[in-house]
Symmetry: C2
Subunit: 191 residues, 2 copies
Amino acid sequence: MVKMSRWSPNARGRLEQAAYELFLDKGYEPTTVADIAKRAGLTERTFFRHYADKREVFFGGAAALQEELLRALDGAPPAFSAIEAVRIAVEAMSKLMHGRRALSRERQRIVAAHADLRERELIKRATLTAALAGALQRRGVREPAASLAADMGMAVFHVGFGRWLEDPAGRELVDVVHEGFDQLKAVASGI
Amino acid sequence: MVKMSRWSPNARGRLEQAAYELFLDKGYEPTTVADIAKRAGLTERTFFRHYADKREVFFGGAAALQEELLRALDGAPPAFSAIEAVRIAVEAMSKLMHGRRALSRERQRIVAAHADLRERELIKRATLTAALAGALQRRGVREPAASLAADMGMAVFHVGFGRWLEDPAGRELVDVVHEGFDQLKAVASGI
DNA sequence: CTCCATGATGGCAGTGACTGACATCAATCA
DNA sequence: TGATTGATGTCAGTCACTGCCATCATGGAG
């Protein structure tokens, strides 16, 4: 039997939905948290029970990315080098963006326009990087190789992501990222 | 002849000094901007004329780093590969930290303890990275090699910086970073 | 010399993000 | 039946940050 609450279900999702609608409509800054809560049929106070702050509502998907990243890394053959394992993990994460290019571009447009949101995005990236480095260490990779490999992998992802959004050929992110690792190797071989 | 102002000189420096003293004394969050301004003999309103926000007072040195980074990159021999040029630039920037290890460690302790400040630090790093990538492009390096090389260089700096702060041997940052580039090459050769 | 523009500052009233404390009340469970 | 739980509401408060206007030495134009 389905549990019935006295509250409308999925408050968190309604808040996220309301936030996106309002951000697209009148922009990020002019939209107050009270506006978002009102549109979701809730109060400002309740918004802050679901999201630590106004920006967080934009980054609900980060947890799923991290799960996939770590899951894939753990699945990489033990014989793989650090950077090969990172490549597997980052490419697996990239597959999650399949079919989301238009959405991603909209979102990126908003994030790029607001320093607040860019800061938050960078911290999400740093968190992913640290998680990746930690998982590499548990795999037996020593420092600073683990941190460097993690940073390099996330750099390839980040650069690839930006190119994917602009790619006129409409390739898949996985493919852009895959190629990025080859380019990384080429650049590094210049030392 | 020296210009005499009716105001005490170096308001900006006094604000920075006051902020550090208060942050070390009672911590970052409990210190209000009004506290800082008062200690500097100014008002809150004036604080915000010198610093865009409360965090910015912590990152006054970033501009000097960027100048040195770009200056050194422009001075690198044209025949150098992208990553070699980046190495020159990042190592030059690293030299600016000479003799500042104790200070840096204090500062890092505060920054690490506050998500706000970590976010701001990441944006400073991203700004440096973007500036470096742009300078590489003006040098003739194409994308995505320029962005990848810039990201790799900043990753080496970042990882090296962390190791430098903890290094029991007390080596210079330049040396830690120099070694970091070799380790980067080793990691990348694993692809 | 007079007057005016400049520029760093102060004062003040506001907005909006975020927090702590307490109340509410349907569902659930002992 | 009665206690507990958990998501929510209400309210007052703090503090970062902004806009607007006033102040007032300095320096230059006339």
